[in-house]
């Protein structure tokens, strides 16, 4: 029996935080069961100064490498990509330009002020992306 939906390319957006860990786990698990390839994305927010930029970039490399490691352990192909700019916009654009079937990202549940800071990227992606979005919870 065939279905209309197949997952071949999955984007996992990570910011290296605890919130992303669940998303990384879910995304890799998802890719493993569907045989899809993973694009591990970290977006460097464009507004940082040079020194902070280098630090953030390192953090991004670390975060995406963690996805790759988990992928390797599970026989899932992972492509690493560091982008720059507004996180939500870059994620949406990358998904549209790379035939992504599913975006996986994390958010924290309802929790005071952090909801306004962190959830905003996920919320913006859910609201604006024409690609499917899987939101994991911590």
């Amino acid at each position: 029996m065939s279905n209309n939906k197949h997952y071949t390319d999955i984007l996992i957006a990570t910011d290296g935080s605890e919130y992303s860990k669940m998303a990384v786990n879910s995304g890799i698990k998802f890719a493993k069961s569907s045989g899809a390839k993973v694009h591990a994305i970290y977006v460097i927010n464009a507004r940082w100064e040079r020194e902070i930029y280098n630090y953030i970039r390192k953090k991004g490399e670390q975060a995406t490498n963690e996805v790759k490691q988990l992928g390797d352990e599970n026989n899932v192909e992972v492509k690493i990509q560091l982008l720059e700019g507004d996180p939500a916009e870059r994620i949406i654009d990358y998904a549209e330009n790379n035939d992504i079937d599913l975006i996986v990202m994390g958010t924290h549940g309802e929790s005071g002020i952090s909801r306004f800071l962190m959830g905003s990227v996920a919320q913006k992606v859910v609201r604006k992306s024409s690609t499917e979005v899987l939101i994991s919870k911590i």
């Binding site: 029996m1 279905n3 209309n4 939906k5 197949h6 997952y7 786990n25 879910s26 890799i28 698990k29 998802f30 069961s33 569907s34 988990l70 352990e73 599970n74 599913l102 958010t107 549940g109 309802e110 909801r115 959830g119 996920a122 919320q123 859910v126 609201r127 992306s129 024409s130 690609t131 499917e132 979005v133 899987l134 939101i135 994991s136 919870k137």
Partner: protein, 188 residues
């Protein structure tokens, strides 16, 4: 790595074309993970609480919604069973996002799959307010699948309808100019 797979997937449908993508994706994920599917339709009691509402009218709306819900959930059940999946059709009554969140909690659902409206000019205000509430307030994983964007033709028709509505309202409420001057003496 925590190798938890999905055991129970909830597909929330509103019976419209906006749920089609969610149904496809939800069933595909169920197929991949061997999960049981719950096909849920929530009858929203909008307007039911209006004071003075005719009882017969309420009954009619209720019947209509329950017919739509039955069709929508049976549709998923049949599709799913064609794929060899176990599907349970569920109908609830109440606030959609709250019912979806509660049902997921009570039944230990691993993944909620639901659709949102396609893109329209009003998107910012309307867009899957139900989906957004579920994403925000549920502690479950949520897969949001966007419905199809309306065709340019459909959008044009909608614009015309809105224009027509505004025009008809203007006819009714067009203020008498002299009257307006009297009411607002400072306005020329």
């Amino acid at each position: 790595m925590e190798n938890k797979s999905y055991d129970k997937i909830l597909i929330a449908t509103d019976g419209s074309i906006n749920s089609e993508g969610a149904i496809d994706s939800g069933l595909e994920i169920a197929r991949l993970s061997g999960a049981k599917v719950y096909a849920l339709y929530v009858m929203a009691p909008t307007g039911f609480t209006l004071r003075g509402t005719q009882e017969t009218w309420v009954k009619e709306v209720y019947n209509e919604l329950s017919k739509e819900g039955k069709e929508a959930t049976e549709y998923i059940k049949q599709l799913g069973e064609d794929y060899g999946l176990e599907v349970e059709a569920v109908m609830l009554e109440g606030n959609p996002s709250e019912m979806i969140i509660d049902f997921a909690d009570e039944n230990e659902i691993d993944l909620i799959v639901m659709g949102t409206h396609g893109k329209t000019g009003l998107q910012k205000f309307l867009i899957g307010s139900v989906a957004e509430k579920v994403v925000r307030n549920s502690n479950k994983e949520v897969l949001v699948v966007r419905g199809p964007s309306p065709s340019p033709e459909a959008l044009k028709q909608k614009k015309e309808r809105i224009k027509e509505m505004v025009r008809s309202k203007q006819d009714v409420y067009k203020p008498n100019v002299s009257e307006k001057r009297d009411n607002f003496p400072n306005v020329r």
